[in-house]
Protein backbone atom coordinates (compact mmCIF):
# COMPACT_ATOMS: atom_id res chain seq x y z
CA UNK A 1 0.00 0.00 0.00
CA UNK A 2 1.00 3.59 -0.52
CA UNK A 3 0.15 6.90 1.10
CA UNK A 4 -0.23 9.62 -1.49
CA UNK A 5 0.12 13.11 -0.12
CA UNK A 6 -0.70 16.14 -2.22
CA UNK A 7 -0.26 19.81 -1.29
CA UNK A 8 -2.33 21.90 -3.69
CA UNK A 9 -3.94 25.28 -4.22
CA UNK A 10 -7.08 25.52 -2.05
CA UNK A 11 -9.41 26.40 -4.90
CA UNK A 12 -8.40 23.23 -6.81
CA UNK A 13 -9.82 21.01 -4.06
CA UNK A 14 -13.23 20.49 -5.66
CA UNK A 15 -11.66 19.46 -8.98
CA UNK A 16 -9.30 17.04 -7.27
CA UNK A 17 -12.05 15.56 -5.10
CA UNK A 18 -14.26 14.95 -8.12
CA UNK A 19 -11.42 13.44 -10.13
CA UNK A 20 -10.42 11.10 -7.29
CA UNK A 21 -14.01 10.07 -6.73
CA UNK A 22 -14.43 9.28 -10.43
CA UNK A 23 -11.21 7.29 -10.28
CA UNK A 24 -12.75 5.13 -7.55
CA UNK A 25 -11.12 6.40 -4.39
CA UNK A 26 -13.22 5.41 -1.37
CA UNK A 27 -12.01 8.01 1.10
CA UNK A 28 -9.49 10.69 1.70
CA UNK A 29 -8.37 13.16 4.35
CA UNK A 30 -8.11 16.89 3.76
CA UNK A 31 -6.35 19.36 6.02
CA UNK A 32 -5.73 23.06 5.74
CA UNK A 33 -2.03 23.71 5.53
CA UNK A 34 0.38 26.59 5.08
CA UNK A 35 3.62 26.57 3.22
CA UNK A 36 5.77 27.95 0.49
CA UNK A 37 7.72 26.62 -2.45
CA UNK A 38 9.70 28.42 -5.08
CA UNK A 39 7.08 31.19 -5.37
CA UNK A 40 8.07 32.39 -1.85
CA UNK A 41 4.69 33.79 -0.81
CA UNK A 42 3.54 37.32 -1.54
CA UNK A 43 3.66 40.89 -0.24
CA UNK A 44 0.87 42.74 1.57
CA UNK A 45 0.76 46.42 2.57
CA UNK A 46 -1.02 47.74 5.67
CA UNK A 47 -0.90 51.51 6.23
CA UNK A 48 2.32 51.61 4.27
CA UNK A 49 4.05 48.83 6.18
CA UNK A 50 5.00 46.01 3.82
CA UNK A 51 4.70 42.47 5.07
CA UNK A 52 6.05 39.45 3.26
CA UNK A 53 3.57 36.65 3.73
CA UNK A 54 5.79 33.67 3.01
CA UNK A 55 3.46 30.95 4.26
CA UNK A 56 0.54 30.84 1.87
CA UNK A 57 -2.64 28.82 2.45
CA UNK A 58 -2.60 25.32 0.95
CA UNK A 59 -4.69 22.18 1.11
CA UNK A 60 -3.12 18.86 2.00
CA UNK A 61 -4.85 15.73 0.71
CA UNK A 62 -3.94 12.28 1.92
CA UNK A 63 -5.10 9.13 0.18
CA UNK A 64 -4.28 5.51 0.96
CA UNK A 65 -4.13 3.31 -2.12
CA UNK A 66 -3.02 -0.13 -3.26
CA UNK A 67 0.42 -0.28 -4.85
CA UNK A 68 -0.94 -1.12 -8.29
CA UNK A 69 -3.15 1.96 -8.42
CA UNK A 70 -0.63 4.43 -7.08
CA UNK A 71 0.93 5.74 -10.27
CA UNK A 72 -2.36 6.16 -12.06
CA UNK A 73 -3.94 7.90 -9.07
CA UNK A 74 -1.04 10.33 -8.91
CA UNK A 75 -1.53 11.13 -12.60
CA UNK A 76 -5.24 11.78 -12.04
CA UNK A 77 -4.55 13.94 -9.02
CA UNK A 78 -1.82 16.00 -10.68
CA UNK A 79 -3.94 16.60 -13.75
CA UNK A 80 -6.86 17.85 -11.66
CA UNK A 81 -4.72 20.08 -9.48
CA UNK A 82 -2.69 21.71 -12.22
CA UNK A 83 -3.26 25.33 -13.27
CA UNK A 84 0.12 25.70 -14.93
CA UNK A 85 0.92 28.72 -12.76
CA UNK A 86 3.51 29.04 -10.03
CA UNK A 87 2.39 27.63 -6.67
CA UNK A 88 0.51 24.58 -7.94
CA UNK A 89 2.03 22.44 -5.20
CA UNK A 90 3.53 18.95 -4.92
CA UNK A 91 2.46 15.33 -4.77
CA UNK A 92 4.45 12.46 -3.29
CA UNK A 93 3.97 8.89 -2.17
CA UNK A 94 5.45 6.72 0.55
CA UNK A 95 5.08 3.02 1.32
CA UNK A 96 2.72 2.06 4.14
CA UNK A 97 3.18 -1.00 6.40
CA UNK A 98 -0.16 -1.36 8.06
CA UNK A 99 -3.69 -0.01 7.70
CA UNK A 100 -6.47 -0.88 10.14
CA UNK A 101 -10.16 -0.09 9.78
CA UNK A 102 -11.04 0.95 13.30
CA UNK A 103 -14.67 -0.25 13.25
CA UNK A 104 -14.04 -3.82 12.07
CA UNK A 105 -10.37 -4.44 12.77
CA UNK A 106 -9.80 -5.36 9.10
CA UNK A 107 -6.16 -5.06 8.16
CA UNK A 108 -4.10 -4.45 5.03
CA UNK A 109 -5.68 -3.80 1.61
CA UNK A 110 -9.09 -4.95 2.96
CA UNK A 111 -9.09 -1.89 5.18
CA UNK A 112 -8.74 0.56 2.29
Amino acid sequence: MKLITAVIKPYRLDEVKTALHDFGVQGLTVTEASGYGRQRGHTEVYRGAEYTVDLVPKIRIEVLVEDADADELIDVLVKAARTGKIGDGKVWSVPVDTVVRVRTDERGPDAL
Binding site: V45, R47, G48
Partner: protein, 461 residues
Protein backbone atom coordinates in the same frame (compact mmCIF):
# COMPACT_ATOMS: atom_id res chain seq x y z
CA UNK B 1 -19.38 75.67 22.52
CA UNK B 2 -20.70 77.85 19.74
CA UNK B 3 -22.90 80.63 20.91
CA UNK B 4 -24.48 81.80 17.68
CA UNK B 5 -27.71 79.91 18.19
CA UNK B 6 -28.36 82.09 21.17
CA UNK B 7 -28.90 85.11 18.98
CA UNK B 8 -30.47 83.44 15.98
CA UNK B 9 -32.96 81.18 17.67
CA UNK B 10 -33.77 82.65 21.03
CA UNK B 11 -33.22 86.34 21.16
CA UNK B 12 -34.44 87.11 24.65
CA UNK B 13 -35.21 84.19 26.85
CA UNK B 14 -34.87 80.70 25.38
CA UNK B 15 -37.79 78.40 25.82
CA UNK B 16 -37.79 74.64 25.55
CA UNK B 17 -37.69 73.67 21.91
CA UNK B 18 -38.90 70.15 21.31
CA UNK B 19 -37.36 70.02 17.83
CA UNK B 20 -33.88 70.85 19.11
CA UNK B 21 -34.36 68.54 22.07
CA UNK B 22 -35.41 65.60 19.93
CA UNK B 23 -32.47 66.18 17.58
CA UNK B 24 -30.04 66.33 20.50
CA UNK B 25 -31.33 63.14 22.12
CA UNK B 26 -30.85 61.34 18.82
CA UNK B 27 -27.42 62.92 18.40
CA UNK B 28 -26.40 61.63 21.83
CA UNK B 29 -27.38 58.11 20.79
CA UNK B 30 -25.41 58.53 17.55
CA UNK B 31 -22.31 59.54 19.48
CA UNK B 32 -22.80 56.58 21.81
CA UNK B 33 -22.64 54.13 18.90
CA UNK B 34 -19.25 55.52 17.93
CA UNK B 35 -17.61 53.76 20.87
CA UNK B 36 -18.68 50.24 19.81
CA UNK B 37 -17.80 51.36 16.27
CA UNK B 38 -14.34 52.31 17.46
CA UNK B 39 -14.05 48.97 19.24
CA UNK B 40 -14.66 47.12 15.95
CA UNK B 41 -12.42 49.50 14.02
CA UNK B 42 -9.56 48.75 16.41
CA UNK B 43 -10.54 45.13 17.05
CA UNK B 44 -10.22 44.14 13.41
CA UNK B 45 -6.76 45.65 13.23
CA UNK B 46 -5.13 43.54 15.95
CA UNK B 47 -4.19 39.90 15.71
CA UNK B 48 -6.59 37.06 16.52
CA UNK B 49 -5.12 36.59 19.98
CA UNK B 50 -5.98 40.09 21.22
CA UNK B 51 -9.27 41.01 19.55
CA UNK B 52 -11.37 40.66 22.71
CA UNK B 53 -9.02 42.77 24.78
CA UNK B 54 -9.14 45.48 22.13
CA UNK B 55 -12.95 45.46 22.11
CA UNK B 56 -13.09 45.51 25.89
CA UNK B 57 -10.74 48.48 26.19
CA UNK B 58 -13.40 50.55 24.44
CA UNK B 59 -16.44 48.98 26.05
CA UNK B 60 -15.10 49.45 29.58
CA UNK B 61 -15.06 53.18 28.91
CA UNK B 62 -18.85 53.05 28.46
CA UNK B 63 -18.98 51.60 31.97
CA UNK B 64 -16.43 53.62 33.91
CA UNK B 65 -16.79 57.04 32.33
CA UNK B 66 -20.59 56.97 32.51
CA UNK B 67 -20.42 56.48 36.27
CA UNK B 68 -17.71 59.12 36.74
CA UNK B 69 -19.72 61.56 34.63
CA UNK B 70 -22.79 61.01 36.75
CA UNK B 71 -20.94 61.30 40.05
CA UNK B 72 -18.85 64.40 39.32
CA UNK B 73 -17.58 64.52 35.71
CA UNK B 74 -20.37 66.65 34.30
CA UNK B 75 -20.04 69.08 37.16
CA UNK B 76 -16.25 69.34 36.84
CA UNK B 77 -16.47 69.91 33.11
CA UNK B 78 -19.51 72.15 32.85
CA UNK B 79 -20.35 73.40 36.34
CA UNK B 80 -19.71 76.96 37.48
CA UNK B 81 -16.29 78.07 36.31
CA UNK B 82 -13.32 78.25 38.65
CA UNK B 83 -10.55 80.38 37.20
CA UNK B 84 -11.15 79.16 33.66
CA UNK B 85 -9.63 75.77 34.48
CA UNK B 86 -12.31 73.56 35.97
CA UNK B 87 -16.01 73.51 36.64
CA UNK B 88 -17.53 73.60 40.10
CA UNK B 89 -19.30 71.14 42.34
CA UNK B 90 -22.83 72.45 41.83
CA UNK B 91 -24.02 69.43 39.87
CA UNK B 92 -22.31 66.62 41.79
CA UNK B 93 -24.24 63.41 41.36
CA UNK B 94 -26.29 65.25 38.71
CA UNK B 95 -28.35 66.63 41.56
CA UNK B 96 -29.89 70.07 41.58
CA UNK B 97 -30.69 69.94 37.89
CA UNK B 98 -34.35 70.59 37.21
CA UNK B 99 -35.89 68.58 34.42
CA UNK B 100 -37.26 71.75 32.88
CA UNK B 101 -34.06 73.73 33.46
CA UNK B 102 -32.51 74.75 30.14
CA UNK B 103 -28.83 74.78 29.21
CA UNK B 104 -28.07 78.51 29.41
CA UNK B 105 -28.81 80.19 26.11
CA UNK B 106 -30.26 77.14 24.39
CA UNK B 107 -33.64 75.58 23.90
CA UNK B 108 -32.63 72.19 25.31
CA UNK B 109 -32.74 70.89 28.89
CA UNK B 110 -29.47 70.63 30.85
CA UNK B 111 -30.05 66.88 31.06
CA UNK B 112 -29.96 66.66 27.26
CA UNK B 113 -26.71 68.60 27.10
CA UNK B 114 -25.24 66.47 29.89
CA UNK B 115 -26.01 63.13 28.27
CA UNK B 116 -24.80 64.36 24.89
CA UNK B 117 -21.49 65.46 26.41
CA UNK B 118 -21.27 62.20 28.35
CA UNK B 119 -20.87 60.32 25.08
CA UNK B 120 -17.90 62.53 24.18
CA UNK B 121 -16.31 61.82 27.54
CA UNK B 122 -16.78 58.08 26.90
CA UNK B 123 -15.21 57.88 23.46
CA UNK B 124 -12.20 60.09 24.15
CA UNK B 125 -10.37 57.70 26.53
CA UNK B 126 -11.42 54.78 24.32
CA UNK B 127 -9.57 56.42 21.42
CA UNK B 128 -6.30 56.09 23.34
CA UNK B 129 -6.61 52.31 23.56
CA UNK B 130 -5.53 51.69 19.96
CA UNK B 131 -2.00 52.79 20.75
CA UNK B 132 -1.68 50.29 23.60
CA UNK B 133 -2.87 47.18 21.75
CA UNK B 134 -1.83 43.69 22.85
CA UNK B 135 0.13 44.59 25.94
CA UNK B 136 -1.53 46.31 28.91
CA UNK B 137 -3.26 44.85 31.95
CA UNK B 138 -6.98 45.39 31.80
CA UNK B 139 -7.10 46.60 35.40
CA UNK B 140 -4.25 49.04 34.76
CA UNK B 141 -6.06 50.37 31.70
CA UNK B 142 -9.27 50.78 33.69
CA UNK B 143 -7.43 52.69 36.39
CA UNK B 144 -5.70 54.81 33.76
CA UNK B 145 -8.90 55.95 32.04
CA UNK B 146 -10.46 56.70 35.43
CA UNK B 147 -7.59 58.96 36.44
CA UNK B 148 -7.18 60.38 32.95
CA UNK B 149 -10.83 61.39 32.74
CA UNK B 150 -10.58 63.17 36.08
CA UNK B 151 -7.23 64.90 35.62
CA UNK B 152 -7.23 65.46 31.86
CA UNK B 153 -10.56 65.12 30.08
CA UNK B 154 -12.93 66.90 32.47
CA UNK B 155 -10.66 69.95 32.87
CA UNK B 156 -9.72 70.16 29.20
CA UNK B 157 -13.37 69.91 28.15
CA UNK B 158 -13.96 72.81 30.52
CA UNK B 159 -11.10 74.87 29.03
CA UNK B 160 -12.43 74.38 25.53
CA UNK B 161 -16.22 74.33 25.95
CA UNK B 162 -17.07 75.32 29.51
CA UNK B 163 -18.65 78.67 30.15
CA UNK B 164 -15.62 80.67 31.30
CA UNK B 165 -13.12 78.05 30.13
CA UNK B 166 -9.87 79.85 29.34
CA UNK B 167 -9.41 78.56 25.78
CA UNK B 168 -13.08 79.28 25.12
CA UNK B 169 -12.66 82.85 26.33
CA UNK B 170 -9.50 83.24 24.26
CA UNK B 171 -11.56 82.55 21.13
CA UNK B 172 -10.12 79.16 20.20
CA UNK B 173 -12.64 77.47 17.92
CA UNK B 174 -13.30 73.80 18.51
CA UNK B 175 -16.74 73.02 17.20
CA UNK B 176 -16.95 69.35 18.17
CA UNK B 177 -13.68 68.20 19.66
CA UNK B 178 -10.54 68.62 17.56
CA UNK B 179 -8.57 69.68 20.62
CA UNK B 180 -10.62 68.38 23.55
CA UNK B 181 -11.20 64.95 22.01
CA UNK B 182 -8.74 64.10 19.26
CA UNK B 183 -5.53 65.98 20.08
CA UNK B 184 -6.23 65.21 23.72
CA UNK B 185 -6.52 61.45 23.08
CA UNK B 186 -3.69 61.33 20.54
CA UNK B 187 -1.25 63.17 22.79
CA UNK B 188 -2.25 60.97 25.72
CA UNK B 189 -1.57 57.89 23.59
CA UNK B 190 1.88 59.23 22.78
CA UNK B 191 2.59 59.97 26.44
CA UNK B 192 1.58 56.49 27.57
CA UNK B 193 3.46 54.54 24.90
CA UNK B 194 6.63 56.49 25.58
CA UNK B 195 6.38 55.16 29.14
CA UNK B 196 5.24 51.57 28.58
CA UNK B 197 7.26 50.85 25.44
CA UNK B 198 6.85 48.73 22.38
CA UNK B 199 5.12 45.44 21.78
CA UNK B 200 7.31 42.36 21.72
CA UNK B 201 8.43 42.00 18.12
CA UNK B 202 7.79 45.60 17.01
CA UNK B 203 9.44 46.17 13.62
CA UNK B 204 10.41 42.48 13.51
CA UNK B 205 7.14 40.51 13.45
CA UNK B 206 4.25 41.20 11.12
CA UNK B 207 1.28 42.64 13.02
CA UNK B 208 -1.20 41.95 10.29
CA UNK B 209 -4.83 43.03 10.89
CA UNK B 210 -6.79 39.84 11.48
CA UNK B 211 -10.17 41.01 10.20
CA UNK B 212 -10.45 43.88 7.75
CA UNK B 213 -14.22 43.48 7.29
CA UNK B 214 -14.53 44.24 11.02
CA UNK B 215 -12.40 47.36 10.49
CA UNK B 216 -14.71 48.48 7.68
CA UNK B 217 -17.77 47.84 9.82
CA UNK B 218 -16.25 49.92 12.60
CA UNK B 219 -15.31 52.73 10.24
CA UNK B 220 -18.87 52.73 8.88
CA UNK B 221 -20.34 52.98 12.38
CA UNK B 222 -17.94 55.78 13.25
CA UNK B 223 -18.85 57.68 10.10
CA UNK B 224 -22.56 57.28 10.87
CA UNK B 225 -22.25 58.27 14.52
CA UNK B 226 -20.06 61.24 13.66
CA UNK B 227 -23.06 63.12 12.23
CA UNK B 228 -24.39 63.27 15.78
CA UNK B 229 -20.95 64.22 17.07
CA UNK B 230 -20.49 67.14 14.67
CA UNK B 231 -23.95 68.39 13.72
CA UNK B 232 -25.15 67.77 17.27
CA UNK B 233 -22.42 70.03 18.64
CA UNK B 234 -24.43 72.99 17.39
CA UNK B 235 -26.96 72.00 20.08
CA UNK B 236 -29.85 72.71 17.79
CA UNK B 237 -31.42 71.55 14.54
CA UNK B 238 -31.15 74.31 11.98
CA UNK B 239 -29.17 75.41 8.93
CA UNK B 240 -25.83 75.55 10.75
CA UNK B 241 -26.30 71.99 11.96
CA UNK B 242 -27.02 71.05 8.35
CA UNK B 243 -23.82 72.74 7.14
CA UNK B 244 -21.83 70.94 9.85
CA UNK B 245 -23.48 67.69 8.76
CA UNK B 246 -22.65 68.40 5.11
CA UNK B 247 -19.06 69.35 5.90
CA UNK B 248 -18.66 66.12 7.86
CA UNK B 249 -19.67 64.07 4.84
CA UNK B 250 -17.63 66.11 2.35
CA UNK B 251 -14.37 66.18 4.30
CA UNK B 252 -14.60 62.46 5.04
CA UNK B 253 -15.09 61.67 1.38
CA UNK B 254 -12.14 63.89 0.39
CA UNK B 255 -9.89 62.36 3.05
CA UNK B 256 -10.70 58.81 2.00
CA UNK B 257 -9.82 59.68 -1.59
CA UNK B 258 -6.69 61.52 -0.46
CA UNK B 259 -5.42 58.58 1.58
CA UNK B 260 -6.19 56.09 -1.19
CA UNK B 261 -4.44 58.27 -3.77
CA UNK B 262 -1.39 58.68 -1.57
CA UNK B 263 -0.96 54.98 -0.95
CA UNK B 264 -1.64 54.05 -4.58
CA UNK B 265 1.26 56.30 -5.58
CA UNK B 266 3.54 55.35 -2.68
CA UNK B 267 2.77 51.66 -2.21
CA UNK B 268 0.98 50.54 -5.35
CA UNK B 269 -2.48 49.54 -4.09
CA UNK B 270 -5.80 50.97 -3.01
CA UNK B 271 -6.20 49.20 0.33
CA UNK B 272 -9.29 48.57 2.41
CA UNK B 273 -7.46 49.66 5.53
CA UNK B 274 -6.43 52.84 3.72
CA UNK B 275 -10.05 53.65 2.84
CA UNK B 276 -11.17 53.12 6.45
CA UNK B 277 -8.22 55.06 7.88
CA UNK B 278 -8.66 57.92 5.42
CA UNK B 279 -12.33 58.24 6.30
CA UNK B 280 -11.51 58.41 10.01
CA UNK B 281 -8.72 60.95 9.40
CA UNK B 282 -11.22 63.14 7.54
CA UNK B 283 -13.80 62.83 10.31
CA UNK B 284 -11.19 63.81 12.86
CA UNK B 285 -9.95 66.83 10.89
CA UNK B 286 -13.39 68.27 10.15
CA UNK B 287 -14.52 67.86 13.77
CA UNK B 288 -13.22 71.23 15.03
CA UNK B 289 -13.83 72.97 11.71
CA UNK B 290 -17.28 71.82 10.60
CA UNK B 291 -18.99 74.94 11.96
CA UNK B 292 -16.50 77.35 10.43
CA UNK B 293 -15.73 76.25 6.89
CA UNK B 294 -17.73 75.93 3.68
CA UNK B 295 -18.31 72.64 1.88
CA UNK B 296 -15.56 73.62 -0.57
CA UNK B 297 -13.26 74.36 2.36
CA UNK B 298 -14.17 70.92 3.71
CA UNK B 299 -12.81 69.31 0.56
CA UNK B 300 -9.48 71.03 1.25
CA UNK B 301 -9.49 70.11 4.95
CA UNK B 302 -10.34 66.48 4.18
CA UNK B 303 -7.88 66.03 1.33
CA UNK B 304 -5.02 67.57 3.32
CA UNK B 305 -5.84 65.39 6.35
CA UNK B 306 -6.07 62.23 4.22
CA UNK B 307 -2.68 62.73 2.64
CA UNK B 308 -0.82 64.03 5.69
CA UNK B 309 -2.19 61.31 8.00
CA UNK B 310 -1.34 58.60 5.44
CA UNK B 311 2.21 59.91 5.60
CA UNK B 312 2.20 60.43 9.38
CA UNK B 313 1.36 56.82 10.25
CA UNK B 314 4.79 55.84 8.91
CA UNK B 315 6.57 58.06 11.43
CA UNK B 316 6.37 55.47 14.20
CA UNK B 317 8.72 53.20 12.29
CA UNK B 318 11.18 56.01 11.61
CA UNK B 319 11.07 57.41 15.14
CA UNK B 320 10.71 54.05 16.87
CA UNK B 321 7.58 54.45 19.03
CA UNK B 322 4.97 51.71 18.89
CA UNK B 323 1.73 53.59 18.27
CA UNK B 324 0.14 50.24 17.51
CA UNK B 325 -3.01 51.30 15.64
CA UNK B 326 -1.89 54.84 14.75
CA UNK B 327 -3.81 56.88 17.31
CA UNK B 328 -1.11 59.55 17.16
CA UNK B 329 -0.82 59.46 13.38
CA UNK B 330 -4.56 59.73 12.79
CA UNK B 331 -6.13 61.46 15.82
CA UNK B 332 -3.39 63.77 17.03
CA UNK B 333 -2.15 64.70 13.58
CA UNK B 334 -5.68 64.89 12.12
CA UNK B 335 -6.85 66.98 15.09
CA UNK B 336 -3.96 69.40 14.65
CA UNK B 337 -4.63 69.75 10.93
CA UNK B 338 -8.33 70.44 11.42
CA UNK B 339 -7.79 72.84 14.30
CA UNK B 340 -5.12 74.85 12.49
CA UNK B 341 -6.91 74.94 9.14
CA UNK B 342 -9.76 76.84 10.81
CA UNK B 343 -7.25 79.68 10.92
CA UNK B 344 -7.03 79.55 7.14
CA UNK B 345 -10.43 78.39 5.90
CA UNK B 346 -12.95 79.83 8.38
CA UNK B 347 -15.44 81.82 6.32
CA UNK B 348 -17.02 83.75 9.14
CA UNK B 349 -20.41 83.07 7.65
CA UNK B 350 -21.39 79.64 8.93
CA UNK B 351 -21.83 79.16 12.66
CA UNK B 352 -18.99 81.33 13.85
CA UNK B 353 -18.02 84.86 12.95
CA UNK B 354 -14.23 84.43 13.12
CA UNK B 355 -12.57 84.60 9.71
CA UNK B 356 -9.48 82.74 8.59
CA UNK B 357 -6.52 84.03 6.62
CA UNK B 358 -8.00 83.10 3.24
CA UNK B 359 -11.22 84.97 3.97
CA UNK B 360 -9.67 88.25 5.01
CA UNK B 361 -9.39 87.50 8.71
CA UNK B 362 -5.61 87.84 8.94
CA UNK B 363 -3.38 85.67 11.08
CA UNK B 364 -5.26 86.22 14.33
CA UNK B 365 -7.45 83.14 14.37
CA UNK B 366 -4.58 80.90 13.28
CA UNK B 367 -2.59 82.16 16.24
CA UNK B 368 -5.43 81.40 18.65
CA UNK B 369 -5.83 77.95 17.15
CA UNK B 370 -2.11 77.30 17.56
CA UNK B 371 -2.32 78.24 21.24
CA UNK B 372 -5.25 75.87 21.76
CA UNK B 373 -3.51 73.02 19.95
CA UNK B 374 -0.22 73.48 21.80
CA UNK B 375 -1.70 73.79 25.27
CA UNK B 376 -4.00 70.79 25.02
CA UNK B 377 -1.30 68.68 23.37
CA UNK B 378 1.39 69.43 25.94
CA UNK B 379 -0.90 69.16 28.95
CA UNK B 380 -2.31 65.81 27.86
CA UNK B 381 1.09 64.44 26.80
CA UNK B 382 2.82 65.28 30.06
CA UNK B 383 0.02 64.39 32.47
CA UNK B 384 -0.72 61.12 30.66
CA UNK B 385 2.93 60.10 30.77
CA UNK B 386 3.05 60.84 34.50
CA UNK B 387 -0.15 58.87 35.14
CA UNK B 388 1.20 55.93 33.14
CA UNK B 389 4.47 56.01 35.08
CA UNK B 390 2.67 56.07 38.42
CA UNK B 391 0.41 53.17 37.45
CA UNK B 392 3.41 51.26 36.15
CA UNK B 393 5.22 51.72 39.46
CA UNK B 394 2.21 50.85 41.59
CA UNK B 395 0.78 47.81 39.79
CA UNK B 396 2.68 47.33 36.52
CA UNK B 397 1.00 48.65 33.38
CA UNK B 398 1.96 45.77 31.09
CA UNK B 399 1.14 42.09 31.10
CA UNK B 400 4.08 39.68 31.29
CA UNK B 401 5.98 39.04 28.11
CA UNK B 402 4.77 35.43 28.08
CA UNK B 403 1.14 36.51 28.29
CA UNK B 404 1.65 39.10 25.59
CA UNK B 405 3.20 36.57 23.22
CA UNK B 406 0.70 33.80 23.98
CA UNK B 407 -2.22 36.22 23.66
CA UNK B 408 -3.73 38.79 25.98
CA UNK B 409 -7.31 37.53 25.46
CA UNK B 410 -6.49 34.31 27.31
CA UNK B 411 -4.38 35.98 29.96
CA UNK B 412 -6.66 38.89 30.82
CA UNK B 413 -10.16 37.73 29.89
CA UNK B 414 -10.00 33.90 29.93
CA UNK B 415 -11.73 33.82 26.55
CA UNK B 416 -10.99 33.22 22.88
CA UNK B 417 -12.40 35.49 20.20
CA UNK B 418 -13.20 32.90 17.57
CA UNK B 419 -14.11 29.24 17.78
CA UNK B 420 -13.72 28.02 14.23
CA UNK B 421 -11.11 25.28 14.59
CA UNK B 422 -12.22 21.82 15.71
CA UNK B 423 -9.08 21.28 17.74
CA UNK B 424 -9.36 24.60 19.51
CA UNK B 425 -12.95 23.94 20.55
CA UNK B 426 -12.22 20.59 22.21
CA UNK B 427 -12.73 22.15 25.61
CA UNK B 428 -14.02 20.44 28.70
CA UNK B 429 -16.63 21.80 31.07
CA UNK B 430 -14.28 22.57 33.92
CA UNK B 431 -15.43 21.71 37.43
CA UNK B 432 -19.04 20.91 36.58
CA UNK B 433 -18.62 17.21 35.92
CA UNK B 434 -16.92 15.15 38.59
CA UNK B 435 -14.53 12.48 37.18
CA UNK B 436 -16.91 9.62 38.11
CA UNK B 437 -19.80 11.19 36.27
CA UNK B 438 -17.73 11.97 33.24
CA UNK B 439 -16.65 8.31 33.14
CA UNK B 440 -20.28 7.20 33.21
CA UNK B 441 -21.02 9.49 30.30
CA UNK B 442 -18.48 7.73 28.10
CA UNK B 443 -20.76 4.69 28.10
CA UNK B 444 -17.81 2.32 28.48
CA UNK B 445 -17.49 0.94 32.00
CA UNK B 446 -14.40 -1.13 31.22
CA UNK B 447 -12.11 1.70 30.32
CA UNK B 448 -10.66 4.21 32.68
CA UNK B 449 -11.93 7.54 31.57
CA UNK B 450 -8.98 9.75 31.02
CA UNK B 451 -10.33 13.25 30.74
CA UNK B 452 -9.18 14.79 27.51
CA UNK B 453 -6.76 17.53 28.21
CA UNK B 454 -8.32 20.74 27.06
CA UNK B 455 -6.45 21.51 23.91
CA UNK B 456 -4.51 24.73 23.78
CA UNK B 457 -6.52 26.88 21.42
CA UNK B 458 -4.55 27.59 18.31
CA UNK B 459 -3.81 31.22 17.89
CA UNK B 460 -2.39 33.10 15.04
CA UNK B 461 1.02 34.33 16.00
Amino acid sequence: MPTGILTTLAADKPVLDTGHTAFMLISAALVMVMTPGLAFFYGGMVRVKSVLNMLMMSFISLGIITILWTLFGFSLAFGTDHGGFVGGTDWLGMRHIGITQLWPGYGIPIYVFAVFQLMFAVITPALISGALADRVKFAAWSLFITLWAIVVYFPVAHWVWGTGGWLNKLGVIDFAGGTAVHINAGAAALGVILVIGKRVGFKRDPFRPHNLPLVMLGAGLLWFGWFGFNAGSWLGADGVAAVAFTNTQVATAAAMLGWLGYERIRHGSFTTLGAASGAVAGLVAITPACGSVSPLGSIAVGAIAGVVCAWAVGLKFKLGFDDSLDVVGVHMVGGIIGSLLIGLFATGGVGQTAKGLFYGGGWGQLGKQAVGVTCVLLYSLVVSAVLAKVIDLVMGFRVSEDDEVAGIDQAEHAETGYDFAGIGSAARLGGLLAPAESKALTGDKNETASPAKAAEPKVDA
